[in-house]
């Protein structure tokens, strides 16, 4: 058996060497006749082949859509089946989008989510990261728990949140089977609240959405801040301690400036991410983003992305895709403006 194996290895080696030898010979021959590029491709030719799969995908699903979506937003009566359209309009679709009451409501909802959940999440995760960094036992355990939200399905845990805040038959008239949140409220002697069910108010539903946004956003930020804080040299803190600086001062004068690039990065990405909130609202409120409050009416909890997808799901009607594209570009514009402002402010405040 061993001898056979050896023989086989020998044979393989021989074959390899013969093929390599012939390859080298051809290469030499070709180079002598200035045909070396056939075997030794220049880098740009190789690069084309290496980039081919990725670029093909990017061209079809990234670059073409950017241009095309801009184009679509200028059409009127665009039909997605035939690709025909009636006419061009310069700003007609944009004006129609911006003037709709639904869009303004969506803008308000989104703005509330961005301006409340982002600061809370960043501050909280910064404190958590500092606290985590200062302890030694159980650090890994806490770190694992804090990271759990990152590896979950947004819809799944959103449903759990909705359940925790509503219970089973959670109407004010019939408060049987309280959800966990209402149970906690009754422990402290309060009245159960209809958070997201019939009888909910705008701010009760918004509270649940905000809580879920914070819960969902903590994980990533904690990990990034923690890895930033761990990279700070211990000497700074020792020097501060000898100089008699308090902990609060050490935090505001050493920790925050040292990880300011990370805070800045997180700020920009999470503002962008919050402007695009969609799945969490779908999970908590429902696919239509509306809460019916009895016979009197309904609460509109749609975000801007919600508003865009409402149009896309009705795309079979002529012209609605253009409105969706216009709304998406308005969202892009808002995000761009906010990012620019942050970059300008960041230039002065962030220490690299």
């Amino acid at each position: 058996m061993k001898a056979f194996k050896l023989k086989l290895q020998n044979l393989l080696w021989r074959m390899k060497s013969v093929s390599h030898h012939s390859f080298v010979k051809t290469e030499e021959f070709l180079t002598r006749h200035r045909l070396g590029f056939i075997v030794n491709w220049p880098h740009w030719l190789k690069a084309i082949f290496y980039l081919l799969p990725a670029m093909l995908m990017l061209l079809v699903f990234t670059f073409y859509p950017i241009i095309n979506s801009f184009m679509i937003s200028f059409y009127t009566g665009f039909n997605i089946q035939t690709g025909e359209f009636d006419n061009y309009t310069l700003l007609g679709n944009y004006i129609e989008v911006v003037n709709q009451a639904n869009f303004l409501q969506a803008l308000q909802n989104t703005a509330i989510i961005v301006f409340i959940s982002v600061p809370i999440t960043i501050l909280l995760s910064l404190f958590i990261a500092v606290a985590l960094n200062s302890i030694k036992p159980l650090k890994g355990f806490y770190q694992t728990i804090f990271f759990l939200p990152y590896v979950t399905n947004t819809i799944a845990i959103g449903l759990v949140f909705a359940f925790m805040f509503s219970g089973n038959t959670n109407t004010i008239a019939n408060p049987v089977g309280l959800g966990l949140a209402n149970q906690v409220i009754t422990w402290f002697g309060g009245q159960p609240i209809a958070w997201v069910a019939t009888g909910a108010t705008y701010w009760s539903a918004m509270t649940v959405i905000l809580m879920y946004s914070v819960w969902n956003g903590l994980a990533f930020k904690i990990i990034v801040f923690l890895s930033g804080i761990q990279g700070i040299d211990k000497q700074y803190y020792q020097a501060a301690q000898i100089d008699g600086a308090s902990r609060a001062k050490a935090f505001s004068r050493i920790t925050v400036p040292m990880i300011s690039p990370m805070i800045f990065y997180i700020l920009i990405t999470s503002v962008i991410g919050s402007f695009k909130t969609y799945s969490s609202v779908v999970a908590i409120i429902g696919v239509d983003g509306m809460i019916t409050t009895g016979s009197s009416g309904s609460l509109n909890m749609k975000t801007i992305v919600f508003y865009i997808y409402d149009y896309i799901s009705l795309a079979a009607q002529d012209g609605l895709m253009s409105l969706a594209a216009a709304a998406a570009i308005v969202l892009f514009g808002i995000i761009l403006v906010f990012t620019m402002i942050q970059l300008q402010v960041g230039k002065r405040r962030v220490h690299y």
């Binding site: 880098h43 799969p53 073409y64 947004t154």
Partner: protein, 469 residues
Amino acid sequence: MKRITKEIRKLDFIATLIDTVYILFAIGLIYYLFSVLALPNNITDEVNTTYQILGSTWTSAQVNTAISLLVGYFIVFIPTTFSNWKRVRSKDVIEMDEWTYRSQYLYSFMSLFLSFNPFSAVIRFLNATKILTIVQGHGLKQSLINIKDDLLDFFSGRTFQRMKARRLARKETSESQQDLERISKQDFTLKVLVMVANYTFLTFIALFIFLPFYWMILTALKTNTELTTAVSPRLIIGLSEMQWVNFKVALDRFDFGLYLSNTLFVGLASMVGTVLTTILAAFAFSRLEWKGREFIFSILLMTMMIPGELYTITNYITVRNLGWYDSFYALIFPFMTSIFYIFFLRQTFKQIPDTLYRAARVDGCGDFKYLTRVMIPIAKPTITTITILSAIGAWDAYIWPQLVAPSEKYWLISVALRSTRFTDGGSDARPVYNVQLAATALVTVPLLIVFFSLKKYILAGVGRSGTKG
């Protein structure tokens, strides 16, 4: 010495093998128990029958208890066996310190009393004794005597005297040391207070983070009767009351098996595609030198700012025109590559020194061979991170799938969770919450298992992706 380590390794291997056999047996058992569980006629009903299992009669409560115990066994022993396999298979030198034999002893007792596994208990006990002999230089008998002496010292107060003497000795070491100690003594109380505050704060946050998971599992195991009639929800339920049949209902009646396998298929396909295209593109952007490389790359980076909705609008039309609407193609192909991952991997590839490349070229190594033999092994942590992140992304996808694949055959889990009406089919339109949350748990748990087994890579990779970007 080498002979002894070899022996220890061998014994370790045998014990781990026996553990694995036990776990496989338990998996078979739990599968059998699940297969005999009777489905209720109406999903809101509670099942209360008797089963004929292995020639004896079991009630529903007993079967529920058995499954609960088996699940508890899995939670403890599958991770430990997993890490044992990692240790057995690794070629590193075994670290032998005090904790090695202590953990081996603990594991041996756990095997004996928790999993009724006397074989591996005995083997691990022998192993631990062997390591103890190597580490301490004396056998088990002597260390038992030592423990006895230590306990005697502790109770007679001699331990404290020794500690005091050591502290005094340390005090006299040096002047600067004394200064430091004075400072630290001054804020000792402050330190303790801060510590207590830290732990309380972290525990509160941890509870806030963990509560939804607990509530999900807890509610999924309750009966529907309890959910609809109880005035206040119970925070803990007994082992025999856990309604494991809810999971079976979610899998059987609501087709969650199909949705899970759909998601797995789409996730794997797009993951493989992403990793392949990303590696090739990152290689072209980092190693190969060609005109316009930086220009094209900066254009790629610029598109990262644009919100995905803008793509979605045209991609929706493209997919319809290609005839991919309502099929797996539409779910897989648009996510086959990602600019962020290309950027991320390029940063890692760029750190590999050029000299390595030249050395490889001199040895007659082609570009592709250099990529597969040198660059990929070096960048393996980053590639693992990319793989995991793209898998998480596929698991979490909701917007695009519900837009382009609305028919039930192609539902992914997120879409299924949101679109399934978990009602009992009667006039009552309220969802049956325990089944809904059982389905939610079925969706959440697999990813958590993946996370726990690959924790090291994920935490490091995500931290890095934040600091670099």
